[in-house]
Symmetry: C2
Subunit: 303 residues, 2 copies
């Protein structure tokens, strides 16, 4: 049994435009790095090597919260020493908390001889999401651990479905403004019009069919959100311009990553993904908001 | 060019439980039969050989309304003589009006040398649905014309996606009570809870993934409707008993066919489908409501 493991846990895009709370996808880049060692004595010790000034007390750290949940399922006394280097900025909408939570339980599971199933690991890691946002959701956790595109058909009981997806390039822009997940959730209405819900489920069905049938045009047509995006996009300066410009530049489509403020766009070719990056950079330079961009791909591999 | 054609146009199951207004599936049986002849002079003449006493004036007959819509897209003067033998009882929830509308335009298109696309034919046939229920919907029309399972991603613009589906047996019971489509629509609330909408789109995504990945268990788990069924099933005596009994008998799941009152159940084997039929018959015999049952299969072929 190994005494130390290192995992690179990827950023994820939750919701995928029309699939609010049910769909998510893993990115090849950026990744957090987690190195974990078994300790002689029980308990969890967390060190951050990044400059984000995150709490290191286990119960207040998302990786710690996930590990504490995991420890409850382990009969023998176990201790972990965790070193976290975050490259996914907290609050970016790119699944930063999920990467820490998921990476921690995956690393710990490797140290324990892989005794837990992927579904178990998702359950433990959700304790980190609960700490981060107040809600146990799995739409970042599941793709982070399983790779590819995942469907959370149901949270209670947990029913995760891996969806085969064709290769895709992903361009992300992270405008450096703050949108808190809890705020982004509170501005949503508790009721939606049935006719909008119907349009939304047509798009979700279309997106799933497009992914599984490798129909890029159908994926593009289905990347439409008539319920969440009209409300949340108001919090993100430049959103409409990025979206319409990216489509004109040849992107299949895209929208808010998770609860924002990052915006992601899917493309069929690297060339288009680079053109979209240029366009995003131009828009935020002109608006005068600091930003960071990524050109990456859908990550197919599990953690 | 042929002077006479006969088409057998199948019954269809709209909604498929969680896919209200967007999903539908064709059945092998029952079918209406439509025989159509080109007339020397323009105009439409309709004869019904069944006993349903349906109107034969073209503008008041669903097949006639569909043909009148089609005629507007034909520059030359054309006339049709239509003979309709309905085996799908009007008001059964099995797409009776769609079978007549779809069958008529498909037959007419064959007589005209197949000049129209399937999408055109769906558009014409929707004029029949508009007459029947007041709403232009395509979730019976599309599977009737295209076979298999179809997704109506969007009505305006019309975007129909054929979904590959594995072989399935279908048991249908039609309790002989009247549920008008317009009534079944009016009792629906105009707003739904966001949390229910999210659960619904998880199930829709699961159903589409289950069909395309040929995962019968996932299909079964996804056949859940938390929005429409709780309201509409109240109109159908015996519904809860049929549903729970069918699951116990091994059916994958099922629910209201279209707006009812027919109930359909999907099964993996013929044996299960027959057991479900027996159970349905027992329930309606005991309740004392006349009924008709069908044991059939998903129809894969286009019309």
């Amino acid at each position: 049994m190994r005494k130390e493991v290192t995992v690179d846990c990827p950023a994820t895009v939750a919701n995928l435009v029309c699939g609010f709370d049910i769909l998510g996808m893993a990115l090849q880049d950026p990744c957090d790095r987690i190195t974990m060692r078994l300790r002689e004595e029980p308990g969890i010790v967390i060190n951050h090597t990044d400059g984000y000034d995150l709490p290191t007390e286990p119960a207040k750290n998302v990786a710690g919260a996930a590990l504490l949940d995991m420890l409850q399922a382990i009969p023998e006394p176990v201790g972990f020493e965790v070193e976290i280097t975050k490259n996914i900025k907290p609050g970016s909408g790119l699944g930063s908390s999920a990467a820490s939570s998921a990476g921690a339980v995956v690393a710990a599971n490797q140290l324990l001889g892989n005794r837990f199933s992927k579904n178990d690991l998702v359950r433990f890691a959700m304790a980190g999401e609960k700490l981060a946002s107040g809600v146990k959701h799995a739409d970042n956790i599941a793709p982070c651990i399983m790779g590819g595109v995942t469907l959370i058909r149901s949270i209670f009981p947990l029913d995760i479905v891996a969806l085969k997806a064709p290769p895709m390039f992903v361009t992300v822009v992270h405008p450096q403004i703050e949108v808190r997940t809890s705020d982004a959730r509170q501005i949503l209405r508790k009721e939606v019009l049935l006719k909008n819900a119907i349009r939304q489920w047509g798009n979700i069905a279309g997106l799933v069919a497009g992914l599984l049938q490798e129909d890029y045009d159908l994926i593009g047509r289905s990347l439409e959100d008539v319920i969440i995006e009209p409300v949340r996009s108001i919090l993100i300066p430049g959103f409409d311009e990025v979206k319409s410009g990216s489509r004109e530049a040849g992107a299949l489509g895209g929208g808010i990553s998770g609860s924002g403020p990052s915006i992601f766009m899917l493309s069929k070719t690297h060339e288009t993904a680079l053109a979209v990056e240029k366009l995003m950079a131009d828009i935020y330079l002109r608006i005068g908001i600091d930003y960071k961009t990524y050109v990456t791909t859908l990550r197919q591999e599990a953690l």
